[in-house]
Symmetry: C2
Subunit: 320 residues, 2 copies
């Protein structure tokens, strides 16, 4: 499927174009959890999230003829912006299909990075039809957002860096949506040190990965009503297979804990994170102490949050 070698190769391919994001720690949070937690802050990554890693790996593995016609995807969020940046690095066009109800700032960000936006109605058939039309018309290469070996290999590079920056981790907690970041983390962590346990953190209100792992087959996402908007996507099949083969377990986080974690990172760590990026800390706060190791790594997936939305979230009193 995907190997540590694929991740190392992806790292060599993308390294010059991405940030080696910093790892932060917090005495206050360590005391709260009774653990040492190293936060790998992909909020400081180019484009504001880890997504550039996979998108760039996919774009840079295309041969020149394929690449010349550009790349295309559908996204209302970080993947669209990341693919636009990645295409810019290679000097090729990026066609991004965006639902009409996507926040204006997200669309503006994609265009700011040079992406060519096509709007579609906000439903799956309309999105697929719009993407098919764009690909047909331009000959662009489709780069899926997460369920793709090149994407998984790219996202795995975040975990390789984290394990270099914070040696001797016992657990790595990663937010899970489509599963690209988590699958990459599992392959990277176990390839480097099989004793490291990878834990997927998921909102209780978007618990398809939890149900899928529990039942041994992909379970559908049902009306994901979580503020962690990056994690409303269903788990991909490839990623599910990788998670299972690496014994990844899933820990859930309530909406209250996600809000509290976002607020904690803001107040104590002075970090702007999107709610999805705070889900691992939220799950850690709610997990019984026996499920938390002493030396924990966390991947903070991104910092792209609409300011007004974040202000609404942070108005809620913190519970931790």
């Amino acid at each position: 499927m995907v190997s540590l070698g694929d991740i190392r190769a992806a790292h060599d391919r993308i390294r010059a174009h991405i940030h080696r994001t910093p790892v932060f720690t917090s005495r206050a949070i360590d005391e709260l959890l009774g653990a040492n937690v190293a936060f790998k802050c992909e909020s400081f990554q180019r484009g504001g999230s880890f997504k550039i890693r996979g998108a760039l790996n996919a774009v840079l593995t295309l041969d020149d003829r394929e690449a010349a016609r550009g790349v295309a995807t559908h996204s209302s969020g970080n993947h669209g912006a990341a693919l636009a940046i990645a295409a810019g690095v290679r000097g090729i066009p990026a066609y991004i299909v965006v639902p009409a109800n996507a926040p204006r700032v997200k669309r503006a960000a994609i265009e700011g990075y040079g992406g060519i936006v096509t709007e579609c109605a906000a439903n799956v058939p309309a999105r697929e039809a719009a993407l098919a039309e764009v690909v047909e018309r331009t000959g662009a290469h489709f780069v899926p957002p997460y369920d793709d070996a090149r994407i998984v290999a790219g996202q795995g590079t975040a975990t390789v860096e984290l394990m270099e920056q914070a040696p001797d981790l016992e657990q790595i907690w990663v937010p899970v949506g489509g599963g690209g970041l988590t699958a990459g983390a599992a392959v990277a962590a176990h390839g480097i040190d099989p004793r490291v346990k990878v834990i997927a953190a998921e909102p209780s209100r978007a618990d398809d990965a939890f149900r899928s792992i529990a039942n041994g087959r992909i379970e559908p996402m049902r009306n994901p009503a979580t503020i962690a908007d990056g994690l409303r996507t269903p788990l991909g099949q490839l990623n599910f297979d990788i998670l299972r083969s690496h014994d990844v377990t899933v820990e859930l986080a309530s909406e209250a804990a996600i809000i509290a974690a976002t607020r904690l990172m803001f107040e104590r760590m002075k970090l702007v994170v999107e709610p999805s990026g705070a889900v691992p800390l939220a799950a850690l706060l709610e997990a019984s102490p026996s499920r938390r190791a002493r030396r924990i790594g966390v991947i903070v997936s991104g910092g792209n949050v609409d300011l007004e939305a974040l202000l609404e979230i942070l108005k809620n009193p913190g519970g931790y």
Copy 2:
């Protein structure tokens, strides 16, 4: 007054107890300013601001007999928290006189770091009387917040680190309130490289340093009505003398620019900064391009901001 040697000695004294805070850059802000700007983020410092540097230097220079009786100061903000942390490092008591109208979170932070709080009425005579009483009763050593050679030497260590982390800077922009950080920056920068220009950034609504430098004598602060609450303090005499002898100039920032800069750092850099920490960027945004060098360093003084207050500030539309 204070020499680079004093700053190097302070650095050796405090290094093991402070963070070497990271330097961040932003493509978006570089494009906006047409310059390369390196932001030294003291928001990630212990206690959430640069203040620990000076406080720790003062605490660690006391001899054992002096130190045993503890240290005392008056502060409603970062210096009080910093002195409490510094005293904790040495295992001695810290007595902090806090005005009754200080935000609860600030008082809670001081107590959280082990500081012993005495409340006083919110005026200068009451504050001085309360401090005198505490010093008389306990025999504690008074550590002033900024107008003190040990404090200046400690604060100068931030600039030493910045110049190591971002070589070849032409200008260093520093927020100025009481002047300890700026005076330390001037001594450090000119000691290391006399060609580096240090620029003090000050709110237009708290422009006593601007007037003092212009008139060649300390001018009083008049009703400082700025959201940059850390910069409402008047410039100290020692610091004024250092600023003058190092040809430090002052650039002003409007309240609108301070808000816009706080918002820019939040949205583009994913950094939580207190408005005072955004004042250099605000002044850079308002300065004519001829006053901005190509390679600029900025000291972001801190990230301690009341959450609700920040939310109010960030509600304002950004103007840049």
